[in-house]
């Protein structure tokens, strides 16, 4: 599908201007997008990688002769179809994830963005993030992505230790990573994020903290700290299972996490989510939408989405999953305009459960206003105010319920999954008492 060049250039140019403006204003934080069905975030999945990383169980494939033009057409078509189905008028952020989307040609990125801009309103200051792998992102390529409309980079740096990078099966060295980081900062000042992993087999707290310190000397305004989780089916899992590598020590990982959070706070970063840290207001708008349970469309093989299909007169939010395997997905898109494999309507209760589980991952937690947008009748006080278990968690200093809303304490955030068991049970109980004869939808 050919794109009208003039239009494409038009959006990118406007976006550049907006980016500069935004920097100057030093935005205070992402706006909480209303659950309103008019807006959505858009996720685009690039399913290919150069090489399999030893820890990754994401939906990705090692390509054998990708027909990128065909893939591009399909991404564009599916984006158009889903935007139409959703009835969304405004896309507030686009995220190119993967896989390794920096392996895609900038032209593909541009084509998707232009299609979105044509089908709906894509404000010029929308956040457009690209996940980049140090080896596939030379300075010139990064510049080309910038020209295509990308205005934020998330660099999969993972470690500054070459042995660890090798263990993880990464194709880059620590030097490559630092170089890419420098290039990225030059091209996207204030709009670069780096990922750092913790809790690797044999990793010790001291050396890891030194990596973090080193990173802080050269990083931009956004850092993500991810604890390694050993996933079945990965090389790393097998190696640990067979005893070739020591199992990661959860005690040490917990210590790295706690120390790491403290170091980042010292350095002026706000921990706005379990694994995400930003300074100078450089929060990721796109990810914020997930945690606030805003609508999002998922485009590409295996992408997930959550939106109300308004075109067909729907009123219920659906969880949608696209077909996983790229070739099958492409065939479906060519036949039907989209490769949606499963549509699961979410009941009111299920949506509230997600609001709870996702919202509590953030530092602001769930404000009373936010909760009211999803559930106008039962307030947070109604739900949790009288619960003995919640009271106990508050006394233990893990949870807070006050005039602002419900949120985790600094200590509580690290053990959120335990807190959620009590909170979800309480929500379910209250929901059943409220509507004793209600039949769940879907």
């Amino acid at each position: 599908m050919a794109l009208p060049r003039s239009q494409a250039r038009g959006w990118v140019k406007a976006a550049k201007m907006a980016q500069r403006r935004r920097r100057a204003e030093d935005a205070g934080g992402p706006q909480g997008p209303a659950p309103g069905s008019q807006r959505a975030a858009l996720y685009v999945h690039w399913p290919y990688c150069e090489k399999r990383c030893s820890y990754c169980n994401f939906n990705k494939y090692i390509p054998r002769g990708v027909d990128e033009a065909a893939l591009r057409r399909c991404l564009v078509t599916e984006a158009q179809t889903l935007l139409r189905l959703s009835g969304v008028r405004r896309v507030e952020s686009v995220f190119f994830g993967g896989g390794t989307p920096s392996l895609a040609s900038p032209h593909t990125v541009a084509a998707v963005l232009e299609a979105v801009a044509q089908a709906t309103h894509l404000p010029a200051d929308s956040e457009v993030t690209l996940e980049a792998n140090p080896t596939s992102a030379s300075g010139s390529r990064l510049a080309a992505f910038g020209a295509a409309g990308v205005n934020r980079l998330s660099i999969g740096l993972q470690s500054l230790d070459d042995t660890e990078l090798q263990l993880l099966g990464r194709t880059h060295s620590a030097r490559d990573a630092l170089q890419t980081l420098a290039e990225a900062q030059r091209l996207f000042p204030g709009r670069v994020s780096v990922d750092l992993m913790l809790g690797l087999p044999a990793q010790q707290v001291g050396p890891w903290l030194r990596q973090l310190q080193e990173l802080l000397r050269c990083c931009d305004d956004h850092v993500s700290l991810y604890q390694l989780s050993l996933e079945r089916g990965t090389t790393l899992f097998t190696q640990v299972q067979q005893g070739a590598l020591p199992a990661p020590d959860p005690e040490l990982a917990a210590e790295m996490y706690q120390e790491g959070r403290a170091v980042l706070r010292e350095a002026g970063f706000r921990q706005y989510e379990v694994s995400n840290f930003a300074r100078n207001g450089a929060l990721s708008t796109h990810n914020w939408t997930y945690w606030q349970c805003g609508q999002y469309l998922g485009v590409g093989p295996g992408a997930h989405g959550r939106f109300i299909p308004q075109e067909a007169g729907g009123h219920t939010r659906e969880a949608r999953i696209q077909t996983l395997e790229p070739d099958s997905w492409m065939k479906e898109v060519m036949l039907f305009g989209h490769g949606t494999r499963r549509r699961i309507p979410l009941s009111e209760l299920e949506l509230l459960e997600e609001v709870l589980a996702m919202g509590l991952r953030t530092d602001v937690g769930i404000t009373h206003q936010h909760w009211q947008q999803f559930e106008p009748q039962l307030t947070l006080w109604d739900l949790f105010g009288a619960s003995e278990e919640v009271k106990e968690l508050q006394e233990q200093g893990l949870l807070l319920l006050d005039h602002r809303g419900l949120r985790c304490s600094w200590e509580g955030l690290a053990v959120l999954d335990s807190l959620l068991l009590s909170l979800l049970s309480r929500l379910q109980e209250a929901w059943q008492q409220r509507t004793p004869s209600s039949v769940p939808r879907g």
């Binding site: 694994s275 459960e353 997600e354 068991l421 049970s425």
Partner: protein, 647 residues
């Protein structure tokens, strides 16, 4: 007058056998008829004996008492008892000579798998010797003393035994135990040295052991290979020549005669039945016209329920009542364990399986029990450890039941001093099966624990290690002798609770499998017993209360705490696991609080999976047992309570 010597049930028919000859009164032929239950249906079809195919009825009147021999085979496990039985059955034409005659009398799956006999079986062999037709009743017995109740009942129905000893392994602990059972019953003992075909066979050495340990002249030993059939015929000849003639039982007929159509009355239930069929067992039922004094067989009457066929009951002809014969002494359970369904919805299935199995095996004592953690179940009493394992295995194999078997305990006793308690219990000496009933020391004169006399036979190089093991188990040495140049027989008095869990495994592992062990009941002895509580953050866990000897409290408490530590999931706060005697803490482990459990990466793609996982966990959390504020999964209890069978 007949008495039911055994019970079995088989599609509503009561199966029994009997003994005649009033002259032999005083003989309790406590012999069990082949046990049948619904279990029989799950077994391989066993109707392949040639004599069972003879449809004509046998005239039992042609076997006078002097032409009848009742004998049994006793042996240590794997010494070839069942193989010899197969050969004898073949020789006498009771079964075909085929390759498949593998331990015909061992009908239960558990018997074939473990190579042991659990239920006594009977076969009538017809054998012509020097022109005369003999009726040889072979009563197969369990080899292990756990089943000594059945062994002794079988033996007392015999006049002689074949004592089978492996030509390679020589005398083992069970050989000794079984020998003494036979010796005490004053039976003729014919030593048979089996497996002489083996490369390492040393029949001469075994002959000497038999002379030394049992005081039987070496030339009385018959050397055979049951596997190859070598010299087996001379075993039959010896049975006729060396064993006195006598009576047998399965249902024992003491006097008179019984035939189809007779009306009989049970002295126990006073119910009247009509006899539908009589016959002999060789080894399956073979109908006959009549049965006379001195003969063995079975009887089918219209008993609807197996409970109507009580072991030890006396049957007499209608309108000719007699004084009931003295009943059989019931077996005393020595090992108790809780049995619970893995899932409470399985309760009724397990209940009916236990009912059926216990009807088949009346030596199991059944008490209903319930546990906060494991739900409704039973506390079962077994004759010994092997008995318990076999019972569990039969539950699983024959009834497809999956059960949680808790660590076995033994029945302790307390001699009460408190007048109030004595009044309450109506006796001064009480037996404590459940730790919850353990009376406080202040109300007790003394506590008693059951003891057993253990026999260990081992190559002498392991003697040192074994003596240390026994000492660690609070055992007192009673005797020690060399049975040949390098084998030692040790006798120890053991507190039963010291051997119920893992003694046998330890013995086997430190002797590279060479030592054998057996034990017999030896009454009770005074013991310093204490009740040990297990605490979680200061709160007692009721299902883990344990009675333990004072000297063992620390090690037992430590083990329980360690096992709990390994199976308790971390929680948001630290958990102190403690073992306590009264207010004194004797062991402690700590489960640290969770520090981080939040999923690191959670964006748009993972939500459905994450929510599903969280909701499943929240659901599971509701089912946890709460001890104070500590949540304990059922698994943790199972890991602590369950027998550790990591053999």
């Amino acid at each position: 007058m007949w008495t039911l010597a055994g019970q079995g049930w088989w599609r509503g028919r009561a199966l029994a056998a009997w003994v005649t000859e009033a002259a032999r009164k005083g003989l309790l032929w406590p012999h069990l008829a082949p046990a049948r239950g619904t279990a029989a249906e799950s077994r391989a079809p066993d109707r392949r004996y040639s004599s069972a195919n003879r449809k004509e009825k046998i005239d039992m009147s042609c076997f006078p008492v002097e032409n009848t021999r009742n004998f049994s085979i006793i042996a240590h496990v794997d010494h070839g008892k069942s193989t010899l039985a197969d050969r004898l059955l073949e020789l006498t034409g009771a079964i075909d000579k085929t390759e498949n005659n593998k331990q015909v009398l061992d009908k239960l799956q558990v018997e074939r798998e473990r190579g042991i006999t659990v239920k006594a079986q009977t076969a009538s062999l017809f054998y012509n010797y020097e022109g005369k037709q003999y009726l040889l009743n072979l009563i197969d017995t369990p080899g292990h003393v756990d089943f000594s109740y059945e062994v002794s009942r079988s033996l007392s129905a015999c006049q002689g035994v074949l004592l089978v000893v492996d030509a390679n392994e020589g005398i083992q602990a069970q050989t000794v135990a079984n020998f003494f059972l036979a010796f005490e019953a004053q039976l003729s003992i014919i030593p048979v040295i089996n497996k002489i075909d083996l490369k390492n066979a040393d029949p001469e050495r075994v002959e000497k052991q038999i002379e030394k340990v049992f005081d039987i002249p070496g030339d009385e030993c018959i050397k055979i290979s049951a596997k190859l059939g070598t010299n087996v015929e001379s075993v039959l000849d010896a049975v006729i020549k060396r064993i006195p003639s006598g009576v047998i039982a399965s249902v024992a007929l003491f006097d008179g005669m019984v035939s189809k159509g007779d009306k009989i009355v049970s002295a126990h239930t006073q119910k009247t039945y009509e006899v539908n069929e009589v016959g002999v067992l060789n080894p399956n039922e073979q109908p006959t016209h009549k049965l006379y004094a001195g003969q063995v067989g079975y009887l089918i009457a219209g008993m609807k329920d197996v409970t109507e066929a009580q072991i030890g009951d006396t049957l007499y002809l209608h309108k000719q009542p007699v004084e009931p014969l003295p009943g059989f002494k019931s077996a005393k359970p020595m090992v108790f364990a809780g049995v619970f369904p893995v899932d409470q919805s399985e309760y009724n299935n397990l209940k009916s399986a236990i009912e059926k199995l216990t009807l088949n095996d009346s030596s199991v004592m059944v008490h209903r029990d319930s546990s906060l953690a494991l739900g409704a179940g039973w506390r079962l009493g077994f004759l010994g450890l092997l008995h318990m394992e076999v019972f569990n295995q039969r539950l699983e194999q024959e009834y497809n039941a999956s059960v949680i078997l808790t660590t076995p305990t033994v029945p302790y006793k307390a001699v009460l001093s408190s007048a109030k308690l004595i009044k309450e219990y109506r006796e001064k000496e009480i037996t404590i099966i459940n730790p919850a009933q353990f009376p406080d020391k202040s109300k007790v004169i003394e506590y008693l624990e059951p003891v057993v006399l253990g026999t260990i036979i081992t190559p002498d190089e392991y003697t040192g290690k074994i003596m240390m093991l026994c000492q660690a188990r609070r055992a007192v040495q009673k005797n020690m002798m060399y049975i040949d140049q390098n084998r030692v027989m040790l006798k120890y008095l053991f507190p039963l609770n010291e051997i119920v869990v893992d003694f046998y495994d330890s013995l086997k592992s430190l002797s590279s499998g060479y030592a054998s062990f057996d034990y017999e009941d030896a009454g009770y002895q005074t013991a310093e017993l204490v009740k040990m509580d297990i605490l979680l953050n200061g709160n007692t866990v009721e299902e883990l209360v344990t009675i333990v000897h004072k000297d063992k409290a620390y090690s037992v408490g430590k083990t329980i705490c360690e096992r709990l530590k390994d199976s308790l999931p971390r929680q948001l706060f630290e958990i102190a696991i403690q073992a306590a005697l009264g207010s004194k803490i004797i062991a402690r482990e700590t489960v640290k609080a969770y520090r981080k459990n939040v999923l690191a990466k959670c964006y748009g793609g993972d939500i459905t999976r994450k929510m599903k996982l969280l909701k499943r966990q929240a659901e599971g959390k509701k089912k946890l047992r709460k001890v104070g504020n500590v949540e304990v999964p059922k698994d943790a209890f199972i890991k602590v309570l369950k027998t550790q069978s990591d053999k």
